[in-house]
């Protein structure tokens, strides 16, 4: 669709506002993998309520908004082996790197953090290589 980039920009501004609110109000970096990771492995026990409520909002708030769309679909592949492999890679990778698209990408780049910029360069290149390999060369996605 031609308006996709406008919705991308609007959605991006909302995402950035969420990160700005979390930083200015609570003094915290809005990183999805870190907030969830610290909750599941117990390393974030000291502020588990803040983490759990952030995730509750993240999961629940899209429900009423999604009902405004005629169709909302993630178009995720039905190949569960691919889904499991991808989930494992994302889980291991984001915890090793201590951040994902929100923490390193949005929060890191916006403060000119070298770690954020380097991480973003590596996951963008790896993502491009992954699509090239699994879609165009191997044809599994």
């Amino acid at each position: 669709m031609e308006q996709d980039w406008i919705w991308g920009l609007v959605g991006g501004l909302i995402i950035g506002s969420a990160a700005a609110l979390f930083l200015l109000a609570n003094g915290r970096i809005m990183g999805a993998s870190g907030l969830l990771g610290g909750l599941v492995d117990g390393s974030g026990r000291s502020n588990w309520q803040e983490r759990a409520l952030f995730i509750a909002g993240l999961v629940l708030a899209p429900i009423p908004v999604a009902s405004l769309y005629t169709e909302v679909d993630t178009h995720l592949t039905s190949n569960l082996a691919v889904v499991v492999a991808a989930g494992l890679l994302v889980g291991i990778g984001t915890r090793l790197a201590n951040g994902c698209t929100s923490g390193h990408g949005v929060c890191g780049i916006s403060r000119f953090s070298l770690r954020g910029i380097v991480a973003t360069v590596f996951y963008l290149i790896a993502g491009g290589v992954s699509v090239l390999l699994f879609k165009h060369l191997l044809g599994v996605i």
């Binding site: 991308g8 920009l9 991006g12 501004l13 909302i14 995402i15 950035g16 969420a18 990160a19 700005a20 930083l23 200015l24 109000a25 609570n26 003094g27 915290r28 999805a32 969830l36 599941v40 492995d41 803040e50 952030f54 993240l58 629940l60 899209p62 908004v65 999604a66 993630t74 569960l80 889904v83 499991v84 492999a85 991808a86 989930g87 494992l88 890679l89 889980g91 291991i92 984001t94 915890r95 090793l96 790197a97 201590n98 994902c100 698209t101 949005v106 780049i109 916006s110 403060r111 070298l114 380097v118 590596f122 963008l124 290149i125 790896a126 993502g127 491009g128 290589v129 699509v131 090239l132």
Partner: protein, 143 residues
Amino acid sequence: MRNLFAFLAGSLFGVGLLVSGMTDTTKVQGWLDIFGDWDPTLAFVLAGAIIPMAIAWRFTEGRRPVVGGVFPNKPNPRLGRNLVIGSTLFGMGWGLAGLCPGPAMASLSYGGLGGLVFLIAMIAGMLAAPPISTWLEETPQPA
């Protein structure tokens, strides 16, 4: 107050991810697919998100968070193997399914069984990461 702000920030994040189209895996894979039918949407999302956040970082100078405490320090500039290897593994998985941690959670209500399977696998990966990290640190660096 801290918990209320956390819930509001999470809610805004989830709505932003849905509105931007980033919970649609075809748009994410379309952005990464530079040799196919390339979709530039993700660049607009990232640019849109960085603008308010860059302003917010400027605003933190000489101030304190609303609920008290201090703002996070600038991270250690040391890059290290974990950052590079981790980001590479993350990127491979991101390209493979088109989901990263934020959208995986935001789309839980409409992502179907596949979305739930992804989330469970991702959590399993997160739990497997600390021993892998220890192993990587104990392996001698190549000269």
